[in-house]
Symmetry: C2
Subunit: 478 residues, 2 copies
């Protein structure tokens, strides 16, 4: 992102006006389109709002832009030709389409992080750079040749990675499968997208944990699905709830994250697992099991997935490299019956023609390398340490004001705030003080819950982040 | 893919039966699901059909599978539990959903290539391994560190790659743009997918070249769009046709591939370019310009894109690394106004959470390296050479039976067959003889056209492939 040069002799406002004129003339902002607001541009460029106001005045005097009170600042239409030519109404196209935008809180968080990379980030559900196996992967890349083939990949994904996953899934997840039952995807996100787009139809009813990260994904609504809730208590969902939802709404599929559930951290009770599988087989109901966090179990004994006890094939299993190693490789996998894998691989070809081979080669090498086990061990210890730093900070800064159950794995701490607060107000106060988190309502819960991801910030950031968060919270309850 | 071991003492049919039993027990074929046909399995495993029949008989005698005349062979339901448990009806889920499968001819070609990798491939629209810059990229990867960051990428794509593309687009394509107007995508395929899914709504009318590779993409129908045709003659489309389509059907967008059009190889005439831009600005109509082939211009002077003469921003420009360097990196780019890029980046986050950083780093390094120009030069010379080998082979093998215009760039030769033939019959005869091509009807033309991609097979394969194709053609006209 371009920033004005404070050493230059040219005034800041003039630099900004010149840059905007260039961006307008290159089509980033076509004739008739809306410019970002003065406030937003000032934040992006790190200048006072008055400087942006002067830059806008300069462009207005040249006839390049026009401002109207209440409708913002637009690129002038008539500057660009003798006859009144028409640029497409891009804004209307961008607003159209049946695909819904991300939820507002998440867009706000992304915007804030984009503008101020120094924000302490309890929001992004990913590992810190120093928890990712960067050195190990660099070593593997230096030892191996990754460029033998640069053509399109197999529609189901790179065959050697699928072969590695067959062993990985048996050894680490207790799952027996075949390489032709595996589809490599761009993380769990793409697995879920393919399932909601290709196996379900508009109007279909599905059941989802409450709360659940699924509520943060507008893809369920974009696909026209009706969502029904399965409340999560300290032992996870109650399988009987599925039976009654099925009777009332003929639900077509159940989405569940049984191990260290996102956001609550809950592990589904073992008795309920058996009940759940019985309900599924009784109703012939498919269950989508998302299993990204299991290997982070802090005590080193990851709970097994439902899929490992699924004799009749009720379960579509989703796994990922993102939360145990590196989200930036964009490697996930799905295990499904032959007919489903074929269908989804065909659809994915139409969407993006499959994944790049490189990251698949790298992920496969890492999973079968001697680096993997020590990496997991280190990851678990550091996550446990960070969890405890976070909990201590919360107890110190907000005694009596937050409640939570201590998670035994995963990247998140789910907190209930004791005072009644307004989610959006708290988020804005926190951003103002330099920290972001995800309000619980993003996950479908009532106002007054918060998800803190402790995997991304370092321990010092956790301490100062919670201190800033505490200030923000106190500022709105007083 | 598992194959039976011909050295083993165990009979082939027994090995196959054991493997199928394993795949069934692991859930690849759940209870009640359909097994592949005897013919298909025999092809996949490289054995006689009678061997598969024996393997099926063995499994049937164990009660693992059941055959019914006319409805194929299914996995038995009652083998798997005392009570009649229900596995989900996966087949119905796989058939459901509003997302359409790939067109049958393309699925048939993919299946044939999957089963017999030795087929001579005039169908896949990609470069041969020896036309890709494998050595150059290996050198760059050894010189550079690619693993500094393994977290999620910027939603619009890796910033340094976008910066490199700003220079690349100015230098090679005459396009002035800004890094914030660029969205990195998983090839042109994902750009088109995002546009059809997110900027258009079901029922919207769009105009597409006739013939066009767009007809091979069911995503237009999956998005519920109405397609109207713009016939391509030797100078490309006639812009006046757009005006009349707009009057009749209120078309919302035009899709066009003006340089070395896929499949015809046509270059849009320069006068028509001006007319086209005038029509677009008169109607306020957005044009999607796909520009994957320009840099392959055999004479070394690539035609400029429409986007380079688009002052008012009517054009969404799509480019790609696939046809000029390596499809396997899955790197494409779109240039669009700010509001459109923001919207599509947000939607893409929901679909796959963005691309892996690695291939973006590699592609960016290569585009700005001193290797790029010599690579392009070599690519052009070799494509020209292969084009001529193909044309000579066609003239020698099928004099008077094929007609074509000689393309000046691109990867494809578009042929009209003089005798009247049945597309599907010709394809099957060709596959039987060891060669695949794409029937013209896949691109929306009448029966009797063929697209040969000469970039993938080597020159010897081109010669023997056309000889096999000629045999296939003669076998059905006699």
């Amino acid at each position: 992102m371009w920033k004005p040069d404070r050493q230059s002799k040219q005034p800041l406002f003039q630099q900004i006006a010149d840059d905007l004129e260039r961006r307008i003339s290159y089509g980033e902002f076509p004739p008739g389109s809306l410019l970002p607001s003065e406030r937003k541009l000032a934040e992006q460029l790190g200048v006072n709002r008055s400087t942006v106001i002067m830059a806008f005045a300069e462009l207005r005097s040249l006839g390049i832009i026009e401002s109207q009170i209440g409708s913002g600042t637009r690129v002038s239409k008539y500057k660009w030709g003798v006859t009144p030519k028409h640029t497409p109404n891009w804004h209307r196209y961008a607003e159209g389409g049946s695909f819904l935008p991300n939820v507002p809180f998440l867009r706000r968080i992304r915007e804030a992080l984009g503008q101020r990379p120094s924000l302490i980030d309890f929001a992004s559900g990913e590992l810190a750079a120093n928890l990712s196996p960067i050195d190990e992967i660099t070593t593997l890349m230096n030892e191996n040749q990754y460029t033998a083939y640069l053509g399109y990949d197999n529609p189901q994904g790179y065959v050697p990675l699928r072969q590695t996953l067959v062993s990985y899934l048996r050894q680490y997840r207790g799952i027996q499968t075949t390489e032709s039952s595996i589809l490599i995807t761009s993380g769990s996100q793409q697995s879920l997208y393919l399932i909601t787009q290709c196996l379900l139809s508009p109007g279909d009813a599905v059941a989802i944990e409450d709360p659940s990260y699924c509520y943060s994904l507008p893809m369920f609504q974009s696909a026209g699905l009706q969502l029904f809730r399965l409340p999560v208590d300290c032992k996870g969902i109650r399988p009987d709830d599925i039976r009654s939802l099925y009777k009332k709404h003929r639900i077509k599929m159940v989405f569940i994250n049984p191990n260290f559930q996102n956001p609550t951290g809950t592990v589904l009770d073992s008795e309920r697992r058996i009940q759940l599988l019985n309900v599924a087989s009784e109703l012939g109901l498919p269950i989508v099991e998302d299993d990204p966090f299991s290997l982070t179990a802090y005590d080193g004994t990851p709970p097994l997935p439902l899929k490992s006890m699924d004799p009749i094939g009720s379960i579509l299993y989703i796994g990922s490299f993102s939360k145990i190693a590196a989200s930036g490789l964009r490697i996930g996998w799905m295990i499904a019956p032959h007919s489903v894998v074929e269908r989804l691989a065909d659809a994915r070809q139409q969407m993006d023609f499959g994944l790049s081979v490189f990251p698949q080669q790298v992920a496969g090498q890492f999973l079968k390398s001697p680096f993997f086990d020590p990496h997991l061990e280190r990851l678990r210890m550091q996550l446990l340490f960070k969890r405890d730093v976070l909990i201590e900070a919360l107890q110190r800064e907000l005694p009596g004001l937050v409640e939570f159950t201590v998670p035994q794995g995963g990247l998140h701490l789910w907190c209930k705030l004791v005072p009644e607060i307004h989610d959006g107000k708290l988020l804005e106060e926190a951003i103002r003080r330099g920290v972001v988190f995800v309000p619980g309502s993003v996950y479908g819960s009532d106002s007054g819950f918060v998800r803190f991801t402790f995997a991304r910030p370092d321990t010092e950031e956790i301490v100062s982040g919670i201190s800033k968060f505490a200030e923000a919270l106190r500022s709105i309850i007083n």
